[in-house]
């Protein structure tokens, strides 16, 4: 069974069907898109029951030669690190497509690019051959460029090209890194699993250099300070559903890359970089939080809070413990769910009021109770309230990093405080106080929005109360990973 291929390429089938449909058939386009990404979601969800939680080996492996002349393979497989992210990707794409049903212009193109984007994202997490990985990595760029550039906000063109060029600059160095490890390995190979074993013969200077090449590619995507400037811009200009996918999945590609490739394949380079990585993590946490605090635009605030949360992931990784790695993976999933919900919620109110200015609202809780409830829940989850999903990821990251980096972990706690402050302030200004008369006719969330939001909210609560199912998926793999480092 080529189950991973089917999951990955179902959206491509959908995209091609959409391309063949005439552009007037808007309803059919939407149905095809939802159908294909829904099937992909169901299949990836079904894997949950077949996934072996006891092993750190790759599962559902598919391997065949792709370009034999240079030993490139079509090689897919998942483990506890990538499977949760695949699940996250299919879920978030499906949710985003539901949220996109209100897109009015150029529907055919929109869903076409969105499905192509899903193929790229799934492929990145599933591929175990570096060339294949790179191909999928780059495939995500083009649809994102068009999605931001066509359906985005006022500065969409600039945001789109900045996103494209930033990410591409990072990733071309990754390409050189991939070629360099290929020629370094003997026999020459792009097989990630073999490369993960072959580093003991590579000298330290080589590993450091190649680490930097890969890091450049990943750090832009994370985004790690100082390569984060594209993110607030892209997030703010992108349409709601695209922001959701950008935050929930695309950022995770960077963290995933660091964990999968940089850490495992170039341990000496990683070790050399570790002190800097932890500093970058702390900067991301505190600087991201402070920037978020300074925003008056809700969407920008959520965007900066993403930078802050990615800092937690990096901190967890820098801890080099089982706990820290589990925390990082869990935080990726949780952040995907929670920030996805936050962006959707910001989109809901923007659709109705055409403003995202925190100061423009007031007293909305009485007017739109369901919306207020959902928003409060998402904010509390994001700031790490115990009982909601965000808490566990952050807790594990901190616990995992503490033994090695006591001072830095201590300093990072400031980030938690600031996060709490800006979310509470936002909730207060928007929902409490006297009702701003301008919005006395504001409608509450409708069925479409609720359909998109409910799965995310439900999972946030479920994983907050009972995170074990998620941790079970991750444990074996991160245990193995932590054992690699001496």
């Amino acid at each position: 069974m080529n189950i991973l291929s089917i999951i990955t390429f179902l959206p491509l089938v959908g995209a091609l069907v959409i391309l063949a449909l005439p552009k007037e058939k808007e309803r059919s386009v939407q149905i095809v898109a939802l159908l294909c990404s829904g099937l992909s979601l169901i299949l990836s969800g079904a894997l949950f029951f077949f996934f072996n939680r006891q092993t750190a080996d790759m599962q559902f492996v598919e391997r065949m030669p792709w370009i034999p002349s240079i030993n490139v393979q079509y090689f897919l497989g998942v483990d506890g690190l990538s499977y949760p992210l695949i699940l996250l990707t299919t879920l978030m794409t499906f949710v985003s497509l539901i949220a996109s049903l209100n897109i009015k212009n150029r529907i055919k193109e929109y869903f076409f690019w969105f499905l192509i984007l899903e193929v790229g994202m799934l492929g990145v997490f599933a591929s175990l051959d570096l060339v294949l990985f790179y191909v999928f990595w780059e495939i995500t760029l083009v649809p994102m460029y068009f999605l931001i550039g066509i359906w985005g906000g006022p500065k969409k063109e600039y945001a789109a090209i900045k996103f494209f060029l930033y990410t591409l600059t990072g990733s071309v160095f990754m390409l050189l890194g991939i070629l360099a490890v290929y020629f370094k390995s003997s026999p020459h190979t792009f097989d990630l699993l073999i490369l993960l074993q072959s580093h003991p013969t590579w000298e330290r200077s080589f590993q450091i250099l190649i680490f930097l090449a890969f890091y450049l590619g990943f750090a832009v995507k994370v985004p790690a300070f100082p390569f984060h400037t594209w993110l607030p811009l892209a997030h703010v200009e992108a349409p709601t559903a695209v922001s959701v996918v950008l935050a929930a999945v695309l950022l995770k590609m960077g963290v995933y890359g660091i964990m999968r490739v940089s850490y495992g394949m170039l341990p000496l380079g990683f070790q050399w970089f570790l002190p800097y990585l932890v500093i970058i993590a702390v900067i991301n946490i505190i600087y991201g939080a402070l920037c978020a605090m300074a925003q008056t635009d809700m969407k920008k605030m959520v965007a900066y809070s993403s930078i802050n949360h990615m800092g937690y992931c990096l901190l967890g990784i820098a801890g080099l413990t089982v706990t820290g790695f589990s925390g990082a993976v869990l935080e990726m999933v949780n952040h995907g769910l929670i920030t996805g919900a936050l962006f959707l919620l910001v989109g809901v109110i923007y659709d109705r009021t055409h403003t995202r200015d925190i100061g423009a609202f007031g007293g909305l809780a009485a007017k739109v109770p369901v919306y207020a409830g959902l928003m409060s829940l998402a904010c509390f989850a994001s700031l790490g309230l115990p009982g909601l999903a965000g808490f566990w990821g952050e807790l594990l990251c901190f616990i995992g990093a503490f033994p090695r980096w006591k001072l830095y972990t201590g300093v990072s706690v400031i980030g938690l405080l600031v996060t709490t402050a800006f979310f509470l302030r936002m909730l207060e200004k928007v929902f409490l106080g006297p009702l701003n008369e301008k919005w006395k006719d504001l409608a509450d969330v409708d069925a479409r929005e609720l359909c998109a939001l409910l799965p995310l909210v439900a999972l946030t609560i479920y994983l907050g109360i009972y995170p074990k199912p998620a941790l079970d998926l991750i444990n074996a793999t991160v245990g193995h990973m932590a054992g690699l480092f001496k």
């Binding site: 370009i67 055919k108 495939i139 460029y145 071309v172 160095f173 070629l179 290929y182």
Partner: protein, 512 residues
């Protein structure tokens, strides 16, 4: 005269070219389309002959005419690429409105003659034949560039092209005369042991080095390497669009072919001490092409600069000088034919309005809102542009992948006083240039997808419904056929490049 049969495709094509010139006088202007059909069928027949010959010879190099000329997998590969591009060009001509129908025969004949020149060039192992072939290409190209006689830009382009071309020919001839002085022959190979260059002794003499330098400069003009690229944008802008498409592809890869033969195989650049020089030229070519392209508002000029940059990428493979480098050069050349001709085909569909009023517009603004006017054309263009930029999973990526890989592997095995930093630097400059190029390729995408459609006179359409619609796009079956072939190549070789790579690898065993 041994193996004259191997010359059959060239002989057949030349005769046909002469026939077309006569037909011009005999055939009425009404039936001019027939002549174009005749031309592409002839090219297709030559292509088939070569493909058949390839399977017959079993990939062995066969010397012809006592070492004047050689048939080996590499030359045949380039011939196939050249013939493919001429077929696609004729397809474009069939849909192009600005060509005078009365001279269709002359036009086709010139196209065919220059093709014959290229076929001779990539097989030549004698400096005199190289020169004759280059002149055959150049003189035909000068006339083709100026073929739109009522268009002043066309005339200007042709004159500039001619002056630069004449200058470069002079340098080339001077180089060849020095070569003769240093070696006592114009041959590049030993007639007895074909395929290998005769005495390696002369390579040390300064006269010989100077000769090879001048010859390199001569090739540089034809391949449009910076800083010898000044004729390119004007010639392309003025030339009729199919001719610009043809010039941007065929002569360039033919010159790359002979460059590869001479400077990688027969007289390796490393043995002349040219590696660093060539590396600098490659970097300069990429950088100049890409940076200047950033500022272009005319799509023809933009693609002209882009094609300069593309030649720079191919040069990386020649600098590397390894087996991987040769594979990269061949791979990229063929892929380049598909993607660049494809891009020009879309430009023609957008810019040419199909009539002879000369009102076709190749400004970037003509692309505004193309996605709404014709989504398929916009997506075609996007695919070609992304392939030119080297993004996976398109063929351009595979080509660049090989070229960068060649540079890195050459760096690892660098010896003989050449610093590995030259190769690593080349790779880094190459990838950074790819990033820069994305900006202007995406600028076209920006016009196609992000802007609303123009009404043709610079006014924006007021809304979705009201207001005049932009003129219908002039794209007929041949143009779409050409696009389909190009897209098939770009996608197929991007997703499944192995058959192509296997073919390309045939060329490697015959290298020293």
């Amino acid at each position: 005269m041994q193996n004259l049969g191997l010359l059959a495709p060239e002989i057949a094509l030349s005769l046909l070219g002469l026939g077309l010139m006569l037909a011009d006088i005999l055939a009425p202007a009404k039936s001019s389309k027939l002549l174009y059909h005749f031309a592409w069928v002839a090219a297709a027949v030559a292509l088939a002959l070569i493909a058949r010959g390839l399977s017959v010879s079993g990939g062995l190099p066969l010397p012809v005419s006592g070492g004047l000329w050689v048939v080996d997998p590499m030359s045949q590969f380039f011939k196939l690429a050249v013939l493919l591009s001429v077929i696609m060009t004729v397809m474009l001509c069939l849909e192009y409105g600005q060509l005078p129908p009365a001279q269709a025969g002359t036009f086709c004949a010139l196209l065919i003659f220059s093709t014959v020149g290229m076929m001779l060039l990539v097989s030549a192992t004698d400096m005199l034949l190289v020169f004759v072939a280059l002149e055959l290409i150049s003189i035909s190209s000068f006339v083709l560039t100026g073929f739109e006689r009522r268009n002043r830009k066309s005339n200007e382009g042709a004159i500039k092209y001619f002056l630069f071309g004449a200058f470069s020919s002079a340098i080339m001839v001077y180089g060849i005369s020095l070569y003769y002085g240093a070696t006592g022959t114009t041959r590049l190979v030993d007639p007895q042991s074909a395929g290998l260059w005769l005495p390696a002794l002369q390579t040390k003499s300064p006269v010989f080095t100077l000769a090879m330098l001048f010859i390199l400069l001569g090739f540089g003009f034809k391949a449009a390497m910076a800083p010898m690229h000044f004729w390119v944008p004007d010639a392309y802008e003025g030339a009729p669009l199919p001719v610009a498409a043809f010039l941007s592809v065929a002569p360039k890869i033919a010159t790359i072919g002979v460059l590869a033969r001479v400077y990688m195989v027969l007289v390796p650049a490393a043995s002349l001490g040219f590696t660093t020089l060539l590396a600098l030229l490659a970097m300069l070519t990429m950088t100049v092409g890409n940076t200047v392209a950033l500022f272009q508002d005319n799509v023809k000029r933009l693609l002209a600069y882009s094609s300069i940059a593309q030649a720079g990428y191919i040069l990386i493979g020649i600098v590397a000088g390894t087996a991987l480098g040769i594979q990269g050069v061949l791979l990229y050349s063929l892929v380049y034919v598909a993607m660049n001709l494809g891009a020009f085909a879309v430009v023609q569909a957008v810019g040419d309005n199909g009539s002879r009023d000369g009102l076709g517009s190749y400004e970037l603004a003509a692309f505004d809102g193309l996605a709404q006017r014709s989504l398929s054309l916009a997506l075609f263009m996007t695919a070609f542009l992304l392939s030119l930029a080297g993004l996976p999973p398109l063929a351009g990526f595979i080509g660049k992948f090989y070229l960068f890989a060649a540079a890195l592997s050459a760096g690892r095995s660098a010896s003989g006083g050449i610093s590995p930093a030259v190769f690593y630097g080349l790779a880094v400059v190459g990838v950074l240039n790819s990033v820069v190029s994305v900006y202007y390729y995406m600028k076209i995408a920006y016009h196609m997808f992000f802007l609303p459609a123009n009404s043709g006179k610079g006014e924006r359409l007021p809304s979705k419904d009201g207001g005049p619609l932009p003129a219908a796009l002039h794209a007929g079956p041949y143009l779409y056929g050409c696009l389909a072939v190009a897209l098939a190549g770009v996608l197929y070789f991007g997703i499944y490049p192995d058959p192509l790579i296997a073919n390309v690898q045939l060329s490697v065993p015959h290298l020293p």
